[in-house]
Amino acid sequence: MYSKPLPTTGLDTKPFWDGCREHTIRIQRCKACGHLRRPPASVCPRCLSRETEWVEMSGRGTVYSYVVYHVAYDPSFKEDLPYVVALVTLEEGPRILTNIVECDPAAVHCDMAVEAIWKDMTDTVSLPLFRPVS
């Protein structure tokens, strides 16, 4: 039984989570101006166009910033302490919130090169996590 919070998958975020299920990171791209945007929404914050497509990212990026949790705000994360939450800048430009794994928290640093790996949490939910590029 998976005890951690699951995504809410509202109308705006469903395509992202559907992509994750297929182990791809999908981001919205404005068909009018080409701007890649995240978090998802129906209108481009750069040109206000509603014309949108979802495109696949490479899964490579760098750590923009990160924090190390030493306290479990939700008891289901207690076993993971200390764990790293990071903002990763994908090589295509947009940022994504994620965890850095397969790395000592003390070794994580800003601008570190990372790549996506996939963790299947339930039958329908997979999470994009990142690890250092070996």
């Binding site: 975020t13 945007r37 910033s65 190390v68 030493h70 994360f77 764990y83 919130l97």
Partner: protein, 295 residues
Amino acid sequence: MHAVGALETGICKYILISYGHSARSGGGMSQVLSRMAGDDAVFGHFGAAAGYALAARRAMHEYNTGPDTWKHIAVGQRKWANLNPRAVMYDRPMTESDYERSPWIVEPFRLADNCLVTDGGRAFILTTAERARDLPHPVVTIMGLGMHNPAADPVAARHLTGPTGARRAGEQAFHMAGITLEDVDACEIYDCFTYTVEITLQDYGFFGPGEGEEWFRGGTIEPGGRTPVNTSGGLLSEAYQMGLTPLTEGVMQLMGRCGDHQLGPATGNIKPEIILCSDNGGILQTHSCCILRRN
């Protein structure tokens, strides 16, 4: 700001501004944090401390800041709280080594970098300066106001390491007031976390990026310091009353009603005439600046 607009239209004479929250005993703050988290909770990311910590960590990467800067803020504000019987931390002194022993919460923030979670409420009444002259307390006017809201959340934000909304809000407020930083006698800064105080003062122009450690060092913001900051103890050491902790303290200081922590000869400071107050919301997503003056 809204209240000033309502007065300006002439439809109101006295406006009451109110805050209250059963954040601690009632569990209200955990409601706030869980609602803020949204899908970020999937990755174990919850709420405000970690969001500001992400901003602070990036700032540490871009320029000289970190716990060596923030300890001066935590310790300095605690000294003010130790003079304020209303402060939750009135009886709890903090030394620099206490700060350094404070446990990590969301690294790079220690417990001592976090504001208090408190039950309580605060309110104030706004009217015209003209009416204020017939009322019992010394007249404290709004000399300058500014707002700026770079609304993007940390995933999309470009302002986490500054300039935040404080830059333009501060410029607007100083322009309206017709003064400069040198005219400010004290600051009451919204201090949800220590880093918030640093980035706010930095964006107001008190020091440049990375110069905070030197600026804060040597008791700058403490009783007797050259720029007193958060003279009630602030959100870190007095109580969390949102932006009303700093604003109401600024007013009370200018009214001369602050008892043992009243700026003046007893604290080794000058009696203040102008106090700069700030508030911000979200993860550095909203900012307001209010310059108060004793008339």
